[in-house]
Subunit: 277 residues, 2 copies
């Protein structure tokens, strides 16, 4: 496995390599969720590149950029064990040299849901993904369904700007109690960690109601909200249901419904979602 | 020469072709200025692609999108005569299918000078150029110095988003009386066409003063303004001088100074510029 730290070396590797390449963009501190993305990538291409970069432009001032967990040695060992071909691990100077002024913005989709409490977040995500696509030039790229809104926005950007990358969205990997895996789970106190299971429990309530034929999503939303508030100290950021393809409001003919939520446990903001169809 | 109208065929051609490719993005209605870009492209790569597309996102409502001059037969003949390999001539449906939401924005540089009177113009330019770069995947791309601000913004975007395209800026081609060639010159009435020579005359005044050692650019600017207003019916949009590398205000240690201007002759907005060093 090669660890590449510069853009020019990454380009050189790409030019020399003749096979298909799948990219897994990550912010490191890898967990089982990331490993499932890596395995997906390996099944889709001859070469797998994992980028590890805590992207500053997707953090707002006051967010957790500085204390975002990092452990590059462990990440490298995990990648090696998975048979990753290249870890791309660039510095901030390499990715955002002085004078950087260009951003990729996906309108409408970026200002709602998570974009409401994190107004510049998705702009940072689309910008870094555009950069990584141009540097690595992958045939395919794998993202997690846990970040459902991000997945939709990246799909949109990939189509709108004609990157021509095959975007693969991998299912959510969960802890035994249902909590979606996330590097941010590390921030949780013991009590919050236990409580956090309410998020998936509430999404499971949604699935049960939906499967029993109920379609009154407003009532369901209130029920989920009550479940979370009665069984934890969480502060809910949002619980919403949207068209799973477009994030548009659900119509009577909507086929796939995305229930998605965000909540704070202490200072830690967790997200989760489920697709109902 | 191939005329390609779809993105998928353009990609197929690119994948099959093994040589280096230079792209000349144009809005068609080609003149000698464009032909000089094409010749530049041919000298830099084994294959030359000319895109002809009147890009709607770089026109604001009320601008001249609908009446922008078009003559695809003549453009194709000119490209053929120059030995162009591919004319890429896509439709609006191909370039901006329903649901398009993603834009590339280069901050600071896009809101000043021409961006003041055309606030969404450069966002449209960077978006379409990003799309063309991704579709054609050129090794190099040629733009004209006539659009000096555009050239700087595209350079910035190319670096910031790591396209890795070699950007070539070709000199301004002028009519006998000095008027910079532009498809929009066709709009000018006989009188306005004659008057329009004042723009280059005023830039020549700037060159003479600079070469004689004068560095009082405010006074010079006023002199240029008087020359234009006394000798034509033009309405001046702006006359400015900036650092030619960054568009920042000129400092005592600025090496290359870009004098640039925009003026209306009737409804037709013309731009021109000169670099002093």
């Amino acid at each position: 496995m090669k660890v590449i730290k510069t853009i020019s070396e990454m380009r050189r590797w790409r030019r020399a390599n003749r096979g298909t390449v799948a990219l897994v963009p990550t912010m490191g501190f890898l967990h089982e969720g990331h490993l499932s993305l890596i395995r997906k990538a390996k099944s889709h291409a001859q070469q797998t590149v994992v980028s590890i970069y805590v992207n500053p432009t997707q953090f707002a001032p006051g967010e957790d950029l500085d204390k975002y967990p990092r452990d590059i040695e462990r990440d490298e060992a995990l990648c090696r064990a998975e048979g990753v071909d290249v870890v791309f691990y660039p510095s901030n100077e390499e990715m955002y040299p002085a004078g950087h002024k260009t951003y990729v913005v996906t309108e409408d989709l970026s200002g709602i849901l998570c974009g409401k409490s994190r107004p510049t977040h998705f702009r940072g995500v689309t910008t870094i993904v555009a950069k990584l696509f141009n540097i690595v030039q992958p045939d395919s790229a794998v993202f997690g369904q846990k970040d459902a809104q991000q997945a939709l926005i990246i799909n949109r950007m990939n189509e709108d700007l004609n990157f021509g990358v095959h975007i693969i969205i991998a299912s959510i990997v969960r802890e035994t109690d249902g909590l979606a895996m996330s590097s941010r789970n590390k921030y949780l106190s013991g009590q919050h960690r236990t409580e956090a299971a309410v998020l998936y429990q509430s999404l499971q309530m949604a699935r049960r109601e939906f499967e029993s034929g109920k379609r009154d999503f407003e009532t369901l939303k209130n029920k989920m909200q009550r479940h979370i508030l009665h069984n934890s100290s969480a502060k809910i950021d949002y619980i919403e249901y949207r068209d799973a393809e477009t994030l548009a409001p659900v119509q009577t003919d909507t086929k796939k419904i995305l229930f998605l939520l965000a909540a704070y446990f202490g200072k830690t903001r967790l997200i989760d979602n489920i697709i109902l169809k």
